[in-house]
Symmetry: D2
Subunit: 296 residues, 4 copies
């Protein structure tokens, strides 16, 4: 979405119990789908080498691209904690960045890894070295604004069981699986926008679900703008609220069809298409531009 | 999925009221999410020309590819109904194939366009020329097996309202929107499999949500195979059952993260990972191979 | 409710696919929870004798009460089908009326016995003599208006399995059990009204859940009247719409607490208490009074 | 239920995040519906006098009954805090006991007054004197075991708005209303037991929803006992787990029909009636008898 929203914008969210509201996005209120963006076991040395090889190969196809295709190890700024200083050079040169999700779970940004979830991770090193981080109060599917899920500090109360031989028994050698909790906010009414894999410039792409989701989001932003939201406000809202992104069709060549589902109950007004035309919000102070551009 | 499942397989589904079971996929039972794969208004001549241009441009990048990148008009086999024969050549040469979804809706294969849904379509020609087709008894998100949603004959009871100026008022100039019905089968427990955009050969792709969904599906198939299903049985099941495909993260470079959610209640046995190991189904007569290969 | 609503009123409901609207109750629209009011196996001769004895004993405590405490067999108007005429006197004198639910299921008026439900009935005679009837398009918990569920003609598609020894194995010697379908309309937002077991005249009753539900309903009617509905309209609505009646507390002497839950999504307007005061509906033609009073 | 369960039994529940399990009730696990049993505004002096009059009148009809019909003010043990000692006699003689729910809310024991709920209370004195208490980790509809909801210490984070004239505007002069939160645990599969208003001794009662709910509960206990639970274990489970009690019919004379819905997902095993007969739990240490009997 970097072409449509090259600048960074920020919405401040206020929490009241489970509810979030924002002075920057008026007439909206929703409960948090509180979850960690990251949960992971540690990779083995072999797995780490595989990651660095395949991500390095991708970067090499266009090393000067901005934003980059992937992020290589970053020796200068790696946070290596209590590791002996003599090891810093070696480790900093090979330690994987935590940006992407991988075989060990990682930064999956799955909004439904909420309270009460049971997750099953493969184990690659003795002791597993399980870690968590990147706590979100809420986030829409895709975390489309790059860092627009509602970030927060916090702690997690976890319980761990070991299933001996579970990777072989359940076929989870290179992926995690999970069962989401039953306490996610429930919504019975949704407004849904499909998109297809044609670029804004009219170029046809082949079964590109990433693009079709982007187009679905842009359709939703266009719709919300008719109610008085600025496009930046609508974009920030869709990054933070419990919207669902679905892969509706992936086989109908050449167009993938993705859909975004917005729960109507998060709006203080009736957001459905009535005959009488859209309600007009008071845009208030709007979504402020941050000082520095971000990529994403 | 054509590389993993090059042959065509078939499962016969038996209906009993809202329930479907199959002699080819034992110990599974689910209610249908009955819906039309296709709902569309007719394109204007200008829009049709735009489609043929952009899809033709895509085909031209690799015209001999099998399967093809897109499907051009097919004059020989176009079904032109009562159109005067003198028009057949002209129309057959420009009539769009109904395979892909486009600005007018079309073959979106959205499993939630079910009973009680309200949909809003843009209108491009006088009278709209609204059409429906491709009825499915059920289908999983993505219709991953190409034609493995449960196809059926049937009829639909529709009601149409006209919202004058609605395309401008609600910003739906080139997309449909919809509000799904409230009578889809409800499930409170899901087993979820994430996937990332790395190919089976280990090649890293850049934020490819299509690939990450494919990998999520393959992880789910691997898991189900541990319960005694053949991979073909698991594949056919995921194409037909009310599974959900989600775009979980689209910004964590280089890996997109997609997830597939399988409702646990569709299985006659406990499909969760217990300590005691997976239940073993009786695979029965299995999923038979069809005579001819399909692409998809 | 006969004291509050001594006259009979009628609302005509129009169906459009799964949706119902009424010219007599404006600005409301809901999907049907289609179900049979009655499903039952036949009683044995011993069970029938037991019913007639206990219901007769109750009638005998106040035989002239209007409405009556219970309804005895009615020889004059019994519908005895193809039974030999020589048996009519005997059978008409002992055949149970189908008004109440009993050990064999019967007129339970359970709104969630919907499509996809699996029910388990005890069997008291050879062949079970299973019967169904009293089809409702929709009904609120309690069928509070006596016959105000939306009655309709129709047919049911049933499948029957026999569980040998099931009454003993599962302890269902004198009751049915069931598992409701998963396709009931879903609602995520409810407006709820509690009531306690104090009569309108201020008399305290002891843990009377029937009375506390009646008071909860009257509170809801009072609330809806502030939006412009007549009390008769509100009453008819609560008898027909998918409202839920709950036994919230049955132990806090002397007051039982019952609650009625109304789904907010059935209203075309925002029915929640906003600061700005209630929306005013156009009451339209209202709910007409029927010619004859009913009891209930 | 005091006749069926004259002794007191106790189950200890262990919490793990949102989950509860009990060493006394094996093979069961559920998330809490955390809520306060009591929320109330203070009554005016007139209202207090009305309560004491009507509850006193009820007691007077059978003053020696055990358990009593209602609980009068208790001067000896009233907790009067910082009130001047000179007032203790007067206040202790008229202060209402908090056992029952009344016009001001109070001990409603509504299990759905959970996180995210918005409640509207009438105000009877300056400043409202709003109070809360009786926190439950979980409780089934009815709190059937009298004090068998899972009691806990805790605190609540509340926000209060004042709606001027709201009692008149919304017709809530003598009752509270509320909108439950959207984060209650969701269940899509239930096992339901109807009951009717016939006593265990076979006596027919007239539309007694309290009795019909009791019979529904007893049917559920009978069913669960077939899986190896003692009746005391089943009884304690139904008091604590998120079961739903519904008023299914209140008009089909002479039998009220109440139903209890048990979510199947709270059991570690398949609790549905399969052909192969009920799974047998290991009853473990069972539910211990407490020293002293309770009434309820």
């Amino acid at each position: 979405m970097v072409d449509q929203f090259p600048d960074a914008y920020k919405a401040v969210w206020d929490f009241q119990g489970p509810w979030a509201t924002s002075r920057h996005i008026p007439e909206v209120r929703f409960e948090g789908l509180t979850h960690p963006g990251i949960m992971a076991t540690a990779p083995s040395a072999e797995m780490l080498a595989k990651w660095n090889k395949r991500e390095g190969d991708l970067i090499a196809t266009n090393p000067d691209r901005m934003p980059p295709l992937a992020l290589p190890p970053e020796p200068e700024e790696a946070v290596l904690g209590s590791l002996p200083r003599s090891e810093w050079d070696r480790v900093g040169a090979e330690a994987a960045r935590t940006a992407p999700p991988r075989e060990n779970g990682g930064n999956q940004d799955i909004k439904n890894l909420t309270k009460g979830t049971r997750a099953f991770y493969p184990v690659f090193v003795d002791g597993a070295n399980f870690s968590i981080g990147d706590l979100h109060f809420s986030q829409g599917d895709g975390e489309i604004t790059f860092c627009g899920g509602i970030e927060m500090g916090g702690f997690m109360d976890l319980h761990v069981d070991l299933i001996k031989g579970g990777m072989e028994t359940y076929g989870v050698a290179e992926n995690a699986i999970f069962m989401p909790g039953r306490q996610d906010p429930q919504f019975s009414e949704w407004l849904s926008f499909p998109g297809t894999s044609v670029t804004l410039d009219g170029e046809q792409r082949y079964l590109d679900s990433h693009l079709s989701y982007q187009r679905a989001i842009l359709h939703a932003i266009e719709y919300l703008s008719k109610f008085g939201y600025s496009k930046e406000q609508a974009y920030l809202l869709l990054g933070a609220a419990p919207i669902e992104g679905r892969l509706s069709s992936v086989v109908d060549i050449p167009n993938a069809c993705s859909t975004v589902y917005i729960p109507t109950a998060i709006f203080d007004f009736d957001v459905r298409p009535p005959q009488g035309g859209p309600h007009q919000i008071d845009p208030g102070i709007g979504a402020p531009k941050a000082k520095d551009p971000v990529y994403g």
